[in-house]
């Protein structure tokens, strides 16, 4: 009997909450890695470009190419492609630990491009203001680029978090745990409509909250 196995509503939370925690852990760890590496990468891509502070065509072309590479593969394909690398780094190919590697590899170039875009919006004269006042390149990056682009970077951050929630659900389908795993294993394969509906509602809510919160922060940062 196919339709009889839905988990009673009262039992949903005991499955849902741990999954939510796993998703949050995955996205949280990945975002920390993404910001730590994607932010400098984005600044490097912009500042080696012709409009940047230290133009360098060769460096710009190479890192730009690498960043595009990371973004050109669909996440599922990327995940499969990097399995040997994942095995090498975390010594396993399943579970949260294994999901973090492909998610970071997808997230870092994505965030780098968002940072690059945000910094590119700053008018050139504001960079000149820094240089003409005797600032070093690092001082201009810190006080002019990062400060002025902060609203744009935060907007990129919420976009990135949402993308990572989506990727975590895809990773979940191959056994990484979290809401994706729950939705696929219970909701889809066991036709558990209660779990399916709950997962969908929770995912929609999380995305809405992240976007709403992100927009609020961006507004408060914009003067």
């Amino acid at each position: 009997m196919i339709l009889a196995t839905a988990t009673p509503w009262s039992g949903v939370s005991s499955l849902l909450l741990p999954a939510l925690g796993q998703t949050a852990a995955m996205v949280g760890i990945v975002m920390a890695i993404v910001v730590a590496l994607g932010l400098p990468l984005g600044l490097l891509i912009f500042n080696t470009s012709p409009r940047g502070l230290t133009p360098h065509p060769t460096v710009h072309a190479s890192i730009s190419w690498i960043a595009n590479l990371g973004r050109s593969l669909p996440f599922l394909v990327l995940m499969a492609t990097v399995i040997p690398f994942t095995q090498l780094v975390v010594n396993t190919t399943i579970g949260i630990k294994a999901a973090i590697i492909p998610m970071s590899l997808a997230g870092i170039p994505f965030f780098a491009r968002l940072v690059e875009n945000a910094v590119r919006e700053i008018p050139r004269t504001r960079l000149d203001v820094g240089i003409a006042s005797g600032a070093s390149v690092l001082q201009v990056i810190r006080t002019v680029q990062l400060t002025e682009a902060l609203p744009g970077i935060v907007a990129g951050l919420s976009l990135n978090v949402i993308a990572m929630i989506e990727y975590s659900a895809i990773a979940g389908a191959i056994g990484a745990g979290g809401l994706g795993y729950l939705a696929v294993n219970y909701g889809y394969e066991q036709f558990d409509s209660h779990i399916m509906i709950s997962c969908i509602v929770v995912l929609v809510l999380i995305v809405q909250i992240v976007q709403f919160g992100g927009d609020r922060i961006v507004r408060s940062l914009t003067h």
């Binding site: 003409a132 070093s136 001082q139 400060t147 003067h223």
Partner: protein
Amino acid sequence: MIEVTALTKRYGSLTVLDGVDFAVQAGEIAAVVGPSGAGKSTLARCINLLEKPTSGSILVDGKDLTRLSRRELRSARRAIGTVFQSASLLQRMTAAENVALPLRFLNISHAERLGRVRELLDRVGMLHRANHYPSQLSGGQQQRIGLARGLALKPSVLLADEPTSGLDPQTTASILKLLAELRDELRVAVVLITHEMDVVRSVADSVARLHEGKIIERGPVAEVVRSSDSELARALLPLPPAPAPRNEHEIWQLRYERPDVNPAWLTSIGRELDTDISVLAGLIETIDDGGAAGRVTVRIERPLAAAAVRAAFASRGIHATQAGGDATQMGDSLTQAGNGTERSDHAQAADALEPTAPEAAASRAALVRSAA
């Protein structure tokens, strides 16, 4: 002071600046004018070393900035403060934080910064706006903050790159007044890059005209407007358009050659030559040295020997030339780069200084007739 010698900038085969020379003394405002594309912005970017000149030297207080290493340059360029077009304030910093920026780059302590920033904001009349963000300030207020920031490191040279572009005439006047005060108080050498001739006339001590990367005309502003009819002189003090003459020979174009021209010349020359004189167009104003400068188109209503008319004007410090029909075209080529309000400003300024000129002509005409 700043001394620029044989400054040349090439981008590939394109020569943007071609052997530019000029020097600005402490306490002097030197304007560089020219139409768009003459190389003004490149000159500005070379002076504050945002661009490295291809050749030539830039001496500030005796030190050649073009020969310094990157590291030395960072500290040397602090001798040059820059006021940017439209202020270019950082939007996410308050007015006070913007002014403090150059001090922060020098790692000056927070306490010391506070004092200096207060002093600067007070000097530009913006202390009450210290904690406002640029978006909460008007264009003129933003440029005051920009001026304060440019002066933060006590530079000996202030480079002002189109500091009044986009500001309304009253705000422009107040910014220029401030600039002149700062020149006098701080004895800073000001390089003022602009395309607005009103700005030059009201605040600059000297003027140089940049054309296709070369300075082709220069001199103290007063001298330029009084001693010649060169393109720069006519751009600085343009002749407002006059109606087309009925008979070309009766139209005269006048230029004030001396600062102390007696404003009653119209009446006194009319009396001397026993003729009515009609003022068709004119621009007379007091320039920075306190003397008058002016261009006037008049019609001599009685046929007279040209030499006698010329002599009568010459004896009163006015250079007179008999004009053909080109009176209205004079001096327009340079001012076209300016904004549309320039004309009306001229008219207002002239009216304020010489309100009675047209009326005097009318009453003079009545007087002469009744005497005859």
